[in-house]
C-alpha cells in the first residue's frame, strides 16, 4: 500500500511539473503581448513596462523567476489589473467557484446515485425510464443551452430566484448549482445503474439473500461498496467537468469566480493570470486524480496490485 501511495504521488508530482513547464513556454509562444491592445505607447514607456514585468530578461531567467515564485506560492502580478497580484484575483474569485463547485458535486453525487440505484432496482419501469431520460438530457444538452433557458423560465418568468450575480444569498446559488450538477447527475446515474445491475448478479449477493437477509440490508450493506467503485473512479474526471462547467456557469450567471476571470484573462492576453489559473486548475485535477486512485486502492485491493 505504501509503495502504491508513493508511486501515485510521484506520478502526480511529475505531471504537475510538466504542466508548469508546458504552460509557461506555451504562453511565451503566444502572439501579441498584453500591452499590444492599448493605444500606441512610446518605446521608452514600453521598455519601462517590460522592465517592470521582467519581460526584457532572457526566457530561462523569467522561467527561473516564475518557478521560484511558485515554490513560495507567489503567482506574480496581473498585467491587466495593474494594482493586483494573480494571488489577489484568485483569492477573490476562488470562494465563489468552490462554493458552487462543492454543492454541484454534492447534489450530483446524491441525486445521481439515488437515480441510478432506483433505475437498477426497478429495471424497465417508469422510474427507470425517467432516470434514463434525465441522463440523456444531461449528457446531450449543453450547459450553455440549459443555463439560459433555466434563467428565462425560473428567474425571468416565474421570478423564483435571481437571474444571476451573487446578491441574494443561497437563492442566487440555486440555478448555477443545479445547472452545473445536471450533466454530472447524468453520468453518475448511468454509472451507478450499470454497476448496480452487475453487482446484484454477484454470487455473494445471492448468498446474502439465501441466508435470509432483508432486501434493504442487502442493498445498503452488501452491494453499495461494489456499486460505488466506478462512481468513485469518476471523481477525478468529475473535478475536470466541474471546472469546465464552472467557466460556463460563471459566464452565464455573472458570478465573479475564477472561471470568469480565466476567460477574461485569455481574451485580454493577461498571461500571468492565465498561467496562474491554469496551474491551479491543473493542480486540482491532478490532486483529485491521485486522491481517487488512493481511495480506490484502499477500497479495492485489485487496484493496488495492477
Amino acid at each position: 500500500m505504501l509503495r502504491f501511495i508513493g508511486k501515485r504521488l510521484w506520478d502526480g508530482g511529475l505531471t504537475l511539473a510538466a504542466l508548469v513547464v508546458l504552460t509557461f513556454f506555451m504562453m511565451r509562444l503566444a502572439p501579441g503581448g498584453p500591452f499590444s491592445k492599448n493605444r500606441k505607447i512610446s518605446p521608452e514607456v514600453l521598455a519601462n513596462i517590460q522592465a517592470k514585468y521582467h519581460l526584457d530578461e532572457p526566457v530561462w531567467q523569467q522561467f527561473a523567476r516564475y518557478v521560484r515564485g511558485l515554490l513560495v506560492g507567489d503567482l506574480g502580478p496581473s498585467m491587466r489589473f495593474r494594482d493586483y497580484s494573480v494571488n489577489d484575483i484568485i483569492a477573490s474569485g476562488l470562494p465563489y467557484s468552490l462554493t458552487i463547485g462543492f454543492w454541484a458535486i454534492a447534489v450530483a453525487a446524491l441525486v445521481g446515485v439515488a437515480l441510478g440505484i432506483a433505475g437498477a432496482l426497478r429495471r424497465n419501469t417508469a422510474t427507470d425510464y425517467i432516470a434514463g431520460t434525465v441522463g440523456v438530457i444531461g449528457i446531450a444538452v449543453p450547459i450553455f443551452v440549459i443555463g439560459p433557458l433555466a434563467q428565462a423560465v425560473f428567474a425571468l418568468r416565474l421570478d423564483w430566484v435571481p437571474v444571476g450575480g451573487i446578491e441574494g444569498g443561497w437563492r442566487a446559488l440555486v440555478l448555477p448549482v443545479l445547472v452545473l450538477a445536471l450533466p454530472n447527475i447524468a453520468y453518475i446515474s448511468r454509472l451507478t445503474r450499470t454497476s448496480m445491475i452487475e453487482t446484484l448478479r454477484e454470487n455473494y449477493v445471492r448468498t446474502a439473500r439465501a441466508k435470509g437477509i432483508g432486501e434493504t440490508r442487502v442493498i445498503l450493506r452488501h452491494t453499495l461498496t461494489g456499486t460505488l467503485l466506478p462512481v468513485i473512479a469518476y471523481l477525478g474526471p468529475a473535478t475536470a467537468a466541474i471546472i469546465t462547467g464552472s467557466i460556463l456557469i460563471e459566464t452565464i450567471f455573472a458570478v465573479p469566480g475564477i472561471g470568469r476571470h480565466f476567460v477574461d484573462a485569455a481574451l485580454n492576453r493577461d498571461y500571468p493570470l492565465v498561467m496562474g489559473i491554469t496551474i491551479l486548475y491543473g493542480g486540482l485535477v491532478i490532486l483529485f486524480n491521485v486522491l481517487t486512485d488512493l481511495l480506490r486502492g484502499w477500497l479495492d485491493p485489485r487496484v493496488r496490485h495492477e
Binding site: 504542466l19 452565464i252 476567460v263 485535477v285
Partner: protein
C-alpha cells in the same frame, strides 16, 4: 472486438464479413436509425438550405429588424437585431459546426489511431515515452488546454480547429494502443514479421485494419465532443467570431436577447441539442452493434 472478427478481417471476401453483420445489427436498432435519418435531414438542410433563400446570413434587412416568427414574410423565423435572417444564420452556423465536428473527429481519429498503433506495436521504451506524453496532456483540464492552444495559435478558425483536434486525439490513441498491444503478439503478425515486412507495413496493413470496430465506436463519440467544444468556445467568444455564424455564437447572441425574445436562443439551441441527441444515440447504437459484450 471479439476474436471471431479477427480472421474475417484478414480475409474479407468470404461471405458475410463481421463488419457487415455488425452494420446489419446496427440497422435493427430503431432509435439509432431514426437518429441517422434526423441527422441526415439536418445536414442536408444546413448544406443546401441556405441556397433556397435570396439572401445570405450576413445580409442585413433594415425593413425587418428583430422581426418575429412569421411564415408569410420572407424571414420565416424572424431576424436578429441587425435584420439578419435567423433561420439562414442558424443553418449557416450549422454548416460550420458540423464541418468542424466531422472533420475534427476524422483528423483526431486518424492521428490517435496511428499514434496508438505505433506505440502499441513498438512496445518497450518507445511505448513508455509515447504514453507518458499522452498522460501529461491528460493532466491538463481539457477546456483549459483548448483555450491555451487557441491563444498560442493566434485565434481564427484554423487555430480553433487545430486546438480541438490536438486535445481530442488522446482518447483514441489510448484505446487503439491497448488493442495494438494484444495484436502485436498474435501469430499472423509474427508471420508477417518472419515474411520480411517492415514495422510500418505491419502497423498499416495488420494492426490498423484490425482496430476498425473499436475506432468506429469511439470515433462516433468524438463527433459530438468536437461539436460541443467548438460551440463552447464560440459561446465564450474565443472560437468562431461574428459576423460568421456558428451555433455557439448564435446561442451567445440569443442569451443576450433572452429577456425580450427567447426565439434567438431557442432556434440554434434546439438545433444543437437535436444534433447532439442524434449523435449520442448513434454512438450508443454502434457500441451495442460492435461490442455486444460491453453493455
Amino acid at each position: 472486438m471479439s476474436d471471431a472478427s479477427l480472421p474475417s478481417a484478414a480475409a474479407p471476401a468470404r461471405g458475410l464479413s463481421t463488419l457487415r453483420l455488425q452494420f446489419a445489427r446496427f440497422a435493427r436498432n430503431r432509435l439509432a436509425m431514426a437518429s441517422v435519418a434526423v441527422l441526415m435531414l439536418i445536414v442536408l438542410a444546413c448544406f443546401l438550405g441556405p441556397f433556397l433563400f435570396p439572401f445570405t446570413g450576413e445580409d442585413a434587412d433594415f425593413d425587418y429588424i428583430l422581426a418575429p416568427i412569421d411564415f408569410t414574410s420572407p424571414h420565416l423565423f424572424g431576424t436578429d437585431d441587425y435584420g439578419r435572417d435567423l433561420l439562414v444564420r442558424t443553418l449557416e452556423g450549422g454548416r460550420v459546426s458540423l464541418t468542424i465536428g466531422f472533420l475534427g473527429a476524422l483528423v483526431a481519429g486518424v492521428i490517435g489511431v496511428l499514434y496508438g498503433a505505433v506505440a502499441g506495436y513498438a512496445g518497450g521504451r518507445t511505448d513508455g515515452l509515447m504514453m507518458r506524453f499522452v498522460e501529461i496532456l491528460y493532466g491538463f483540464p481539457y477546456v483549459i488546454l483548448v483555450i491555451l492552444l487557441s491563444l498560442v495559435l493566434g485565434g481564427g478558425n484554423l487555430a480553433l480547429f487545430a486546438a480541438i483536434v490536438f486535445t481530442l486525439w488522446l482518447t483514441p490513441a489510448v484505446i487503439v494502443r491497448a488493442q495494438a498491444q494484444s495484436l502485436a503478439r498474435r501469430e499472423f503478425v509474427e508471420a508477417a514479421r518472419a515474411g520480411g515486412m517492415t514495422g510500418w507495413q505491419i502497423v498499416l496493413t495488420h494492426i490498423v485494419p484490425n482496430c476498425v470496430s473499436v475506432v468506429i465506436v469511439y470515433g462516433s463519440l468524438l463527433v459530438p465532443e468536437v461539436i460541443l467544444s467548438e460551440s463552447f468556445l464560440s459561446f465564450l467568444g474565443i472560437g468562431i467570431k461574428e459576423p460568421q455564424a456558428s451555433w455557439g455564437n448564435l446561442i451567445q447572441a440569443g442569451t443576450a436577447a433572452m429577456e425580450t425574445d427567447l426565439r434567438l436562443l431557442l432556434l440554434p439551441g434546439t438545433m444543437l441539442a437535436t444534433v447532439l441527441f442524434c449523435l449520442n444515440f448513434i454512438a450508443d447504437g454502434l457500441r451495442d452493434a460492435f461490442d455486444p459484450n460491453d453493455r
